[in-house]
Structure formats: C-alpha cells, structure tokens
Amino acid sequence: MLRAKWWKILSFVLLLYTCTYGFIVKVPKLDDRMRESIRNMFFHVPMWFGMMILFFVSLVYAIKYLRNANPVHDVYSNAFATMGLVFGVLGIITGALWANYQWGSPWVGDPKQNGAAIALLIYFAYFVLRGSLLDTEKRARLSAVYNVFSFFMLFPTLWILPRLTESLHPGGQGSEGNPGINGKDMSANMRTVFYPAVIGWTLLGVWITTLQIRLQLFKLKKEGLL
C-alpha cells in the first residue's frame, strides 16, 4: 500500500479536476459579498476534512502502539499527526484570508475559528512533548497517550462547542444537522467538485505522509533500531 501507485495517480487526477472544474462549475450567487469566493469551499474546507482524517489515522496508530509497543506504529502515528497539522495550519491561514474579505477582518473571534486555533495548539503541544523526551520508548508511549487526548479534544473544540452558539461558519446555532456530512446545504453542482476535492487533497496528504514514514523507517533500520 505504501508503494502502490494507483491512488497517487487518483489524487493527481482528482486535484486536477478540482483545480479546473472548480473554477468553471456554476455556483449559486449568495450575496454581493460572497460572489465567486464560495469556490474556496473546494480548497479551504478540504484542508479541515483532510486534517480530521489524518489525525484519526494518527489516533488509530497511537492506540495500536499502546497495545503492542511496536516502534513502527509510533513512526506512523507521528507522521500522520505532522501532516494533519500541516493541513490544519493551511486551513487556518486560508480561512483568515477568506474571513478578511467576507467578514471584514482576518480574525473575528468566530467560535469555530477560536476552536480550531485551540485544537491546533493542543496538537502543537504533541510535538513539544515529543521533542522534550530523549528516551525513544518513553517518548513513543507518552506521545501515544497524549495523541488520544488531543484527538478527543477535537470533539468539543471543533464539533460541539461551535455548533452550540451563533457562528458565522455553517452549522451554528439554529441550523439543522451537521454541515460537514449533511451535504444538502451545498448545491448539487458544487457537491460534484467538493467531494472529489476532499478525497484528492486527503490522498495527497497521505502520500506525503507515507514518504515521511518510509524515510523514518529507513533511518531506524540504518541505525539498527528496527
């Protein structure tokens, strides 16, 4: 799977589709301020979807590590968390840029913006923790435990609290259901680009993660630790 080619090509095809049809597809004219910037849905939102998926895979490998103490699983968990954080940072930067033109300021204190910032800071602490421990086994075990905690902090910071109060993001108080999964909020035209975009960006993230994993495993083997 690490070296298989087909899904890397799929990622390229889906992203090429996103970056061409995403500019052409007919989008609803919502208001005079939004105009064409709704197309950011194909670039800004998949960063968050991708981040959540990569963090989830990182969590799975953290739990696997805690069950069998296999150092390979620690390498996997660390690499997926790193790429997830890259996506999160890109998401928050693109979000601030979009907010500047839609809401009038890069940071308006929207509950989801604040929640996302807290979630990212919690994950930053994961790398601080890793960097502060020299003993590899201790580092792997503690960071796996912390990884479980930080993933479950996504529930309040991203998935619950922003939806309980008024929010400028979709899915705040007063709107029905989950905007991430309930695609009815998005026009059918846009959905034909949005879901391929999510898959494409996520696969690109997974690809870069596998490169990191292979490099780390190669290093460990060379040092005779594996």
Partner: protein
Amino acid sequence: MIQLLQTTAADNSFMLRDGKIFLVMTVVCIVLVGLFLYVASIDKKISQLEK
C-alpha cells in the same frame, strides 16, 4: 493600438474570458503539476534508498 489589443483578445478568447479566470485556473494547474512532480521525485529517491 486598442484595435490591435482587441483582435489579440479575440484570438486568445479562452484565456481572457470571464475576467481572465481561466488564466488563474491555468496558473493553479501549473503549480499543482509542479508540486506533484516534486513529490513524485522524492518518492522515487526514497524508493532508491530503500533498495
């Protein structure tokens, strides 16, 4: 001069249509292709290391 520009515009209508959005689209695609080529080249280098 304006007339010349207009004829050129007509010849390159694809790139200049709809507020030149297709120009942006092409730029984004070039960035994407470049990025993928780079990632693929790293993939290849790591594969060589592993052998």
